[in-house]
Each structure stands twice: as structure tokens, then as C-alpha cells.
Symmetry: C2
Subunit: 336 residues, 2 copies
DNA sequence: CTGTTAGCGCATTCAG
DNA sequence: CTGAATGCGCTAACAG
């Protein structure tokens, strides 16, 4: 059987308080007693039971993470940051994947609450306002990370989307492009960041007296890319676009594939660039020029923010932290 | 403040034992008392504290998962299976990522042990025998999931690698290929599954009186693919190979890219296929014909096995469960 | 510096 | 059917 603090106390011939003191280094203990305790711990291979400890200290050192889908690369990258920094501060990650089911997420909130998590991180593509409301009610501090939606009334960390598309558009213009189309995602546009992304693009275009062209896609799949292609194929062939800036890497890749199927070469005939900077973008050919979102850092900053609030016991400020992006210049864009 | 069982008892005017009984449905309670308790629970929004509960029942309902890198797609897919099935049985996942550091993994084992996890799942590309030894010592049941290494002396779930390459080779032969090269990974070959994969390939070839050609790669990166290409470029140009069967999808993709850079078309000039079946393989062009390893199922079966042992309190059998693979027929292989 | 005591929140005997 | 009492393993006053 695994040994307890009592066993150690008995063997070291001291009280359990003394054992507790040397374990936690919380109060002075005589060198002699400490030696004996340490020895007993060694011999018995004693390890404090964290469950018991949590019960009395009311510190679980647990952070719950609710994700949309752990299989999603974006989610996994953010999670890396969360996990690594969390561990650095001695917190463990309780992971749950909701697969987009909002009711399931509500259940997780309760579950995590019962497990006494000290905070929660939400990593998702979708929006669950009911969940945020519930967490407020439960008085569990939380940080929201969402790539798509514009989050308000919650602590969140993200990028400056408008600035990001502005920079990329500027880069394309610097490379000599003037006929740049922006392929946007129409879904839920009034609540997503797409609005800001379009703004950044348009601003950069207008500033150089270029006419912006926003092309709308209904989704990010191959089918959606096909639909987009149908719409713009003639324009592309006619040279109406020299560059297509797609709102997500995966869409850019599907579009590149469709272009290639139509005998249109990237970047010789038309340049393409994406947004995201996941590993995908450097594996496809041509390698994709894209806006790199700092997923790892987003996760890292989010948990830092959360833990700061937890450790200092002050309420989590419901503000937004913006992290800088980077333009990854690769081969899918050519200079004109 | 969050309410406890005492508050509920007081409000319902019963003892805490009665409250406990209705919560756990463990012993008969009079309808009247039950009603009052339920009402109090409702009003106070009472949720049992799982930490306290764990302490007394000695059941944490926690499974520790130690992974090499959560950012790895393969790991993430397996984790999906683990998480989803674990949750189905009411277990939570404690996640930790070691980034390949074996000492860190040892620390995780201790940490998890202190957190009273009831079992551990190892998902990795690397091998940590010290860790397995330690877990045995700690008496924590565990299941190992490793894509590369041949695991012995541990409960594990994997695929029949020999059979998998046999099937794919057979498929290539059925498609009319006779000059099939197999690109293998040399690293640690005496302990990895590569040996079995080569065996399956060779067996299929020999059975059809074809001569096997194993080509060795030092790694899975682009550089490694380049090295391989240097070795075989002339052979490929001379038509010595009509198909290249690569030991991993990512290697196959890099090789396709290199081939394409050399002006060699896939699959017109040479067919290429991979092994793994991660999402990557269907995004590249041409889409990659590959062996689909059932990552999700591997995770699912692993945790089932683990939980069965946990729940029935019988020792985990240190055997290997084999799961079937599937050949994904796509566009990187053509019929001759 | 040290031991005794009192809980943390809950499940579970054991008497009624 | 119910309540009082005990203890899970540990930390934290408190009194020496």
C-alpha cells in the first residue's frame, strides 16, 4: 500500500505536523528532525496525496481547457502554449473536447467546477455565449481564445486582424501587385473578425488608390473553393487578378489546387496567399505565403493572464490582448 | 460562497447522510425526504465537491495522458479517441506534453501519481523504457501507444505493420506495378516497426516473383527526402521504379515535391504512396494513396482496455491489440 | 522548534 | 428508513 504522512511521522518518530512542515518548508524544523523525516520519506518513497492537499488548501492547481476539437491543428498549437506555460507554473491541464456541441460544453463547465478547477481556457472556432455566462455565474475565471469570432465582454487574446490583412496587402502591393482579390468567409460575418480583415485589406488598397475586390466564399472546404473558382475563373484568366489573398490557409490551398486543375499556374499566372501559418502552409507546393498567427503565444499569454488573476486573487480583467503577426514570405507570391 | 452538503442538509432539515444517499442513490430514502433534499439542492445550486469525494472514495476518475507533442497530428488524433471514450466512461483527462524529454516524463509520472490518476496512457514517437519501469513500480496501470517502436512487455495497441505494407504492396502490384521501391526509415531499425514493414513489402514482392528494393532515408524531413532523391534520381529517370512506397505520409509528400521539382510527374512518370493517412494526405495534390492507420480507434481501444482493468480491478494484461488498416486509394498511384 | 487539535467536504459504517 | 460518528490524508492554527 502507498504510504501516508502518518507512516512517515511514525518512522521518523515525529508528529505529522513536523512532516508536513518539512514537506512544505512552511515552518522551521530542527536539522535533526528534518533529517529523520527526509530519511523516512526516502525509505517509504512517500509522495503527498494531492487530493487531500487540495481539499484542505482549496487549491487544485488544475486548469480546465475546453476545446472545440483537439484534432484541429490550430487548437493543438494553442494548447501547446497553454500546457507548457501552465506546467511552468505548476498547473495541470484538464482537457475536454466538445466537438462543437454547446450543451456538452455546459456540462464540462459543471464537471470542471466540481473538480475544483481554478480557471478555464476556451479554445474554439465557435461561439458559446451561454457558456461564458455560466462561467461568470460559477465565478470561475476564464480566458477565451477564438480565431474567428470577435469576442467582447470576456478576457481574450487574439491578433489585430485589421492590421494583419493590411500588412499582407501592403506586402503584395510592394511586390508590384495591383489587382488583388480578397477571398472572405461570409458566414456569421457580423460577429466574426472577417469584417476587420476586410477593412484592413480595403484600407491598404485604397491608400494606394487601388480598387478592392472582395470575393465571398461560403466555407473553407474544397467544394467551397470550387464554387469560388467558378465565380472568378474567367476573371483570373482575363488577368483581372494578379493575386488572391485568402482568409484562411486551408482555403488558399484548396484554391491553389483548383487553379492548378484549371491549368493556371501559381505563382506564375496568379499569386495566392493565405492567413494562419499552420504547418500545412509550408508543406504544400508552392509553399504558401501567409500571415502567421502566433498560436503558441496566444495560448501562452492566455494562461499567463489567467494564472496571474488566480494567483493574485484579483478579478480577471475582461479585456483583449493583441499579439503581433508576421508575414511569412514564401513561394506562392511572385514579384511583378 | 459555494454551498456544501451541510448547507443542503440544514435546508432540507435532514442529516448529511441522507443528502449523500440521495446524491449517490446508494440507499433507500423516503420520498418525502428525497423531495426536500432535491429541492434544497436545486435552490442552493449545490454540486458535490469532487475533490472531497475522491479523497474518501479513493477514486479520482482521472486518467493521465503523457504525450510527446500535442502539436503532432498523429498524437492529436489518438488523443481524440482517448478523450472521447474516456469521457463516455466518466473519466477526465490530465494532459501533459513532454516534447521528448525523458526526464520530464518521469516527473509527469510522479505528478500524476500524486494527483491519484487511476491509469496512464502514453502517446509517443519515442521510447521511454525507464518510464514504463517506473509506472510498474508505482503500480499505475498504463497503455502504450507508439507508432514507430515495437513495444513489448507492456499493454499496447497498434496495427499489424507487416500486414499493412503487404496489403499496400499487393495493391500496387494489382495496379500493374512491378518495379516498386520501398523507402524506409533507417533510424533505430532494430527496435522499430520498420523491420516488419519491410518484411511485409518484401513478402508481397517475392510472392509475385518481383525483386524488392529498399531505399533508406535518414529521416522524415525535406532534407532527408532530398538525400533520397539524390540517390535514386537517375534510377527513377531510367524507369527503374514505377512506384515508390514511402514509410510515412510526410516523407511521401516531400518526395513528391522533390520529384515535381525535378520535372518528374506524379503519378504519370512515377507513382508514390505513403503510410499513415493523416489529413495532410488528402490535401496535397495529387492526393496521396496511403495506408490509413486508425489513430482514433487506437486511442479509443487503448483507453477502453485501460478502464476495463481499472474498473474491474484486475491487472492489465501486457499484450498487444492489433487493429486493421485500410488502403486509401487516391490519385498519386496510377494503373499501368 | 514541536505536538495536539480541528477541520476541508464527503461517504460509510453502525445503531437505532 | 435515518442520524451520529468516524475517517480519507493533509494543512493550519494553537498552545506549549
Amino acid at each position: 500500500m502507498t504510504s501516508t504522512i502518518k507512516d512517515v511521522a511514525k518512522m521518523a518518530d515525529v508528529s505529522i505536523s513536523t512532516v508536513s512542515r518539512v514537506i512544505n518548508d512552511s515552518k522551521p524544523v530542527s536539522p535533526e528532525a528534518r533529517r529523520r523525516v527526509l530519511h523516512a520519506i526516502e525509505v517509504l518513497d512517500y509522495k503527498p496525496n494531492e487530493v487531500a492537499r487540495s481539499l484542505v488548501t482549496k487549491k487544485s492547481n488544475l486548469i480546465g481547457v475546453i476545446v472545440n476539437d483537439i484534432g484541429n491543428t490550430y487548437v493543438a498549437q494553442v494548447l501547446r502554449g497553454v500546457e507548457e506555460i501552465g506546467r511552468m507554473f505548476n498547473y495541470d491541464i484538464l482537457l475536454s473536447s466538445s466537438y462543437g456541441d454547446l450543451d456538452v460544453e455546459m456540462k464540462f463547465a459543471n464537471l470542471f467546477s466540481q473538480k475544483q478547477v481554478e480557471g478555464i481556457i476556451l479554445i474554439s472556432d465557435i461561439l458559446n455565449e451561454r457558456l461564458m455566462f455560466k462561467l461568470d455565474e460559477l465565478m470561475i475565471p476564464y480566458v477565451v481564445i477564438n480565431r474567428f469570432y470577435n469576442i467582447e465582454d470576456a478576457a481574450t487574446v487574439t491578433i489585430n486582424n485589421k492590421n494583419a490583412t493590411y500588412k499582407m496587402t501592403q506586402y503584395l502591393i510592394d511586390e508590384g501587385h495591383e489587382k488583388i482579390g480578397y477571398v472572405a468567409l461570409r458566414k456569421d460575418m457580423d460577429r466574426t473578425n472577417e469584417t476587420y480583415k476586410i477593412k484592413g485589406y480595403k484600407e491598404a488598397m485604397r491608400q494606394c488608390n487601388l480598387k478592392p475586390h472582395v470575393i465571398y466564399s461560403e466555407g473553407l472546404g474544397r467544394e467551397d473553393a470550387l464554387d469560388v473558382m467558378e465565380d472568378i475563373l474567367d476573371d483570373v484568366k482575363d488577368g483581372k487578378y494578379t493575386a488572391l489573398f485568402c482568409t484562411q490557409d486551408i482555403l488558399a490551398i484548396h484554391i491553389m489546387n483548383e487553379l492548378s486543375d484549371q491549368g493556371i499556374r501559381v505563382p506564375e499566372d496568379v499569386s495566392v496567399c493565405g492567413f494562419g501559418g499552420t504547418s500545412l502552409s509550408e508543406i504544400v507546393r508552392p509553399t504558401l505565403t501567409t500571415v502567421k498567427e502566433p498560436f503558441y503565444d496566444i495560448g501562452a499569454v492566455a494562461i499567463r493572464k489567467l494564472l496571474k488573476s488566480v494567483e493574485e486573487k484579483e478579478e480577471l480583467k475582461k479585456d483583449t490582448v493583441f499579439l503581433p503577426v508576421e508575414i511569412l514570405k514564401r513561394n506562392s507570391v511572385r514579384s511583378l
